[in-house]
């Protein structure tokens, strides 16, 4: 790769300075993973940036062509490892579209509840780590207190604390135990009180606002041009949510929830604070969805009957292709699966939302300061597992 060119100012009328080439990453406390950003800096101000990804590339797509459809589900967990349920859900919906089956009703409601719980867990990490990036070390611990409850709740049906492999083509793997719904509702009550605590700590803190408002402004045109989705899109004022506008799960049609958008409260529309505030409010909306889901969830089977038989032998969908988009906590996750009738897909592509959100970085960074670079990367909320797959 050609190195970024360094040049020296030859204008001796002013103080003689050189441009500094600084590597942010790949090992860095704030790049949210192994991301390398080559920066050209004039003092504290960034004049050029170039992102370099691929440090976490684990050849998931090639592996997908060599394993069966069911065996690939754990690989989808590990792409966006903070939102495993949502990744599993997107993959399962794509395979179900290819197979032409639909999950039973109880499974769909369980899927929705688990996906929303995982959304809250993912946004809690975004909130906690954003605090650390900005310098406040305490909100992280508070966030992890709630995340511990969520992980314990999700461990009961799936067996794992983080990489669940629970939602599978045809339904969900296992039914939940009898007290699970009550415990989820109890968690919702606790969480609402705690959410108010997070707000007092970080949201209206003047130092936090000065660090995030008017920084990293993403305009509406930039959103569509660069393929950004999720809180990045909603933070710029676009009221779009795949769960409501292109519903991929029936229960989303039957529950009521708002779609929070940024309003430029403390600065320009589309700055870091707006994205942060969208994530905070989305957590409360997820609580609403979970409450309604828990009350309305019907009984019944959790795995499509035909699928249970089909799981004895590897799945063989009819030749075809399917592309399904789902609302991940980070944006719009898309799975494109091409099948030619065999037991493995011949192409299994994951369009990660962080991949597209991150591509905006090189246009957002120049002109900001180093401290702002960290704030911007944190507000885009990327997970390198999804960027690199």
């Amino acid at each position: 790769m050609e190195a970024l060119e360094m040049y020296t100012t030859d204008d001796r009328t002013d103080v003689y300075t050189e441009e500094l080439k600084l590597n942010l990453g790949p090992q860095h406390p704030s790049t949210h993973g192994v991301l390398r950003v080559e920066l050209k800096m004039d003092g504290e101000i960034i004049t050029g940036s170039r992102s370099d990804i691929g440090y976490l590339h684990r050849c998931a797509e090639k592996i997908g062509e060599n394993v069966t459809y069911l065996q690939f589900t754990p690989y989808t967990d590990r792409m966006d490892y903070l939102a495993s349920m949502n990744n599993n859900l997107a993959w399962s919906l794509t395979v179900e579209k290819l197979l032409g089956v639909e999950a039973p009703e109880r499974a769909q409601w369980l899927r929705m509840i688990c996906a929303e719980l995982n959304r809250i867990a993912s946004h809690l990490i975004a909130f906690g780590t954003y605090g650390i990036d900005i310098g406040a070390n305490t909100p992280f611990f508070y966030a992890f207190r709630e995340r511990e409850s969520i992980m314990e709740l999700l461990e009961r049906p799936s067996g794992a604390r983080m990489l669940y492999n629970y939602i599978q083509p045809g339904g969900v793997r296992r039914d939940v135990d009898e007290n699970w719904v009550d415990d989820v509702l109890a968690f919702c009550d606790v969480f609402e009180r705690r959410w108010a605590e997070y707000n007092t700590l970080l949201t209206n803190n003047l130092i936090f606002i000065k660090r995030t408002a008017n920084i990293g402004i993403v305009t509406k045109e930039m959103v569509f041009d660069n393929g950004a989705g999720g809180p990045v899109m909603r933070g710029s004022g676009i009221k779009w949510d795949l769960r409501r506008d292109v519903p991929y799960l029936k229960p989303y049609d039957e529950v009521e929830f708002d779609v929070p958008v940024g309003e430029g409260t403390h600065g320009t529309l589309g700055d870091c604070w707006d994205r942060y505030w969208v994530r905070m409010r989305e957590m409360m909306e997820s609580i609403r969805i979970i409450r309604q889901g828990c009350k309305a969830m019907p009984g019944g089977e959790v795995m499509e009957k035909g699928m249970k038989k089909m799981y004895k032998t590897p799945l063989k969908p009819a030749p075809g292709e399917a592309y399904v988009r789902c609302e991940n906590p980070r944006g719009e996750l898309g799975f494109y699966v091409v099948s030619e009738g065999g037991t493995s897909p011949i192409r299994c592509r994951a369009r990660g939302p962080s991949f597209c959100n991150l591509s905006m970085l090189d246009s957002l960074l120049p002109g900001t300061m180093l401290a702002d670079a960290v704030a911007i990367i944190g507000s885009l909320d990327i997970v390198l597992g999804e960027v690199d797959r």
Partner: protein
């Protein structure tokens, strides 16, 4: 608008190179010629009835006789989406140096910039007029395009030999000492193709061969 209506609209523009709407697959797609791709995308983005503001995904797939590049365009104003495909038929013979070319739509949708770089990286599809045509996930010096069906797994990486058919550690003979590998000289690529083809089967979408019925061994591996 559903796919049929979008296809009608495209046909009505009179642009050359717009093929049929293939509905046999689960998700219908429109086949487009490579030369008119940029105009089609520009039309779909700018026309008020279609308004496909975002290019959601660019994927290249290697099939039996061709490489297909699929473009998933989505509209946020009208809640519809469309898939375009460009087919690049494979020539006869060795495909190692074959890099088919498609015009890049990075000028129309900036999101396609990184998607196209990834497809170049993994499948070797060139995108002409791409502003930054280099690999994105793999290092620049990588040889080969891994997602190709005829991709040969490297025999060494950074000077360290990779033994794909290696004998497990507990079965190795400890007495033979291997000489430590030398640091690789600067400029040599990271992955060297092997000198002879690997004995490992490449599954490539087909079911793995059924295990041969062997006579029962002394050691049984778990339950049947």
């Amino acid at each position: 608008m559903n796919e049929q209506q979008l296809h009608q609209k495209l046909r009505a523009t009179g642009l050359a190179g717009i093929g049929e709407l293939d509905e046999s697959a689960c998700d219908p797609f429109v086949v487009v010629e490579g030369d008119s791709l940029v105009e089609v995308c520009t039309f779909l983005r700018d026309d008020s009835e279609t308004r496909m503001e975002m290019c959601h995904n660019v994927t290249a797939t290697e099939r039996e006789g061709s490489i297909e590049v699929a473009y998933h365009l989505c509209s946020y104003e009208h809640h519809h989406s469309l898939t375009l495909k460009v087919l690049l038929p494979k020539p006869e013979g060795d495909l190692t140096d074959w890099h088919p070319s498609v015009p890049s739509i990075a000028g129309v949708y900036t999101s396609a910039n990184w998607h196209e770089r990834e497809q170049w990286d993994l499948l070797g599809v060139r995108f002409s007029d791409h502003p930054d045509h280099r690999r994105i996930l793999l290092p620049e010096e990588w040889i080969g395009h891994p997602l190709r069906k005829d991709y040969v797994y490297p025999s060494s990486h950074g000077g360290i030999p990779l033994e794909l058919d290696a004998v497990p550690l507990y079965e190795r003979d400890e007495t033979t000492e291997e000489t430590p590998s030398e640091p690789r000289p600067a400029g040599t690529p990271l992955n060297q193709p092997p000198s002879e083809p690997s004995k490992r089967p490449h599954a490539g979408g087909k079911a793995p061969p059924a295990p041969e019925k062997k006579a029962p061994k002394a050691k049984k591996e778990g339950d049947a």
